[in-house]
Symmetry: C2
Subunit: 322 residues, 2 copies
Amino acid sequence: MENKIIRIGIVGYGNLGRGAELAIEKQSDMTLVGIFTRRAPSDVQPVFTNTHVYAYEELSQYQDKIDVLILCGGSASDLPQMSPELVTMYNIVDSFDNHAKIVDHLHHVQEAATKSGKVGVISVGWDPGLFSMNRVLGEIVIPDGGTHTFWGEGLSQGHSEAVRRVTGVKHAVQYTVPIEDVLEKAREGIGADLSAADRHKRVCYVVADEKDYERIEQEIKTMPDYFAPYETTVHFISEAQFLKDHQKMKHGGFVIRSGNTSSENKQAYEFSLALDSNPKFTASVLVAYARAAFKLNQFGETGAKTAFDIPLSFLSPNPEKI
Amino acid sequence: MENKIIRIGIVGYGNLGRGAELAIEKQSDMTLVGIFTRRAPSDVQPVFTNTHVYAYEELSQYQDKIDVLILCGGSASDLPQMSPELVTMYNIVDSFDNHAKIVDHLHHVQEAATKSGKVGVISVGWDPGLFSMNRVLGEIVIPDGGTHTFWGEGLSQGHSEAVRRVTGVKHAVQYTVPIEDVLEKAREGIGADLSAADRHKRVCYVVADEKDYERIEQEIKTMPDYFAPYETTVHFISEAQFLKDHQKMKHGGFVIRSGNTSSENKQAYEFSLALDSNPKFTASVLVAYARAAFKLNQFGETGAKTAFDIPLSFLSPNPEKI
């Protein structure tokens, strides 16, 4: 295979797109052709002043200038359309994370990519992605056991948003936190059947007027589904402290597989991430899989791929050294 | 690909071979044709009474009855000859773990396997193997950082043997133990340049006559290379306690990658194993890669492969479900 610089396009420019722009800058074998946005290109401020910004509608004109598109849209409404559509023109990689619909998404991308002769790598990032790989590998090497996934300590966008909708709340974040005892027991192989609410607690930091504290705390703790089944703590803090301590999108979690490889011995397998920035880490994983998408296509592969289909050597910028 | 039962042969029957026999029993898509030994077959007592035992010299006669051989010999003298020799007749998998000579071993197996049209999967297990995969993947997704490997808490065969050679020692085991503070700092990204002696302490359990305690402890702690540079503790215990508590071959360790995905954020990636039985876990990994060797060869692949070359879907007994 010729040793060429991989030409990347980023589609969508929120936190994930910004992370991809930063991550590409760190790769010796990649160059960023530009960002494609549905907004007015002049409204997008990239991290690097020399990064080009183009309108989404211009995408079809770059087919001989871009090797892989990194799709940085959302899983709810963007990616289900965007991934099958853009894989008709480009190799793509996405972080589609609606677990219940991954199989459908795979089929749509597979159909389009097989026709176009391109590669579509879907659902990579850390969960789905690295966590999925570890769940599968743990089950393969410890066939007789239980798999335990914990998320956090990390900021949940959905739950933070739910707290912000409570009347009187000025600012709020919600952290999902694994319950330490349950985590310890998972390492002993206990509790594989527990629910998410049994495994996690929810900790909120809220800025509000003091007269509203009691009512707000009550409303949060009794919110169905979001908080009611969980052990929930609400801390009221000042706006200054909120802006100082709660702006990072930290996240992470644990995949634990414990059980027996054969009858009489207990084996424990654990993978964990502690991330200061969830979107920047996800972007870094996407960039590695963009390399894989390009190389797989160079080797004549086409169709939809997940993390399970791709050897690590395809992700590495220096496969000859590993 | 036809959905057939994979027919396995085990070559060598120590702790690893026994682990392989047990692990194959757990696989719905495999059958064990037999164990091949250089000892007199009647001297080998398999776990299951219906397991066949054959002489090593008979191996050439089973080429149409066995799909993959799992080589359970040692890395010092067995595998450097055995793997290139047997891959002339069979798909093989080995756990060659002499890190300094893996590249040579790869070339020898590659040359023989390319000629014979077979697949030789080398150096799989947990280190090299799962740890290698995590070192590489950690470096790919966190390009600007340090990699920290800790072994243990685990029984070291070589160090236990060194203690047993001290005059007056009746029984002894040595455990390698990560130093907790250094492990914590690794998670913060500190100490990637530390030596093995800076990262680990050595804890010995020794059975001896009380009159010899002081001299034995002194001799152990001052033993060059093995113990002198390490923080070493020697516990003298009774023979009964030794036989009760120190017969398991437990092991494990940590691969930590910490650093930045891009300039301003700290990300930590951690993989760990806590194994009651080192050889049984290694055998379980070997069995999964035996499946991969078979499938790769069915797909027309030949030559030497490592863990970096093989997608997870090839390891799974149920790839359609992952």
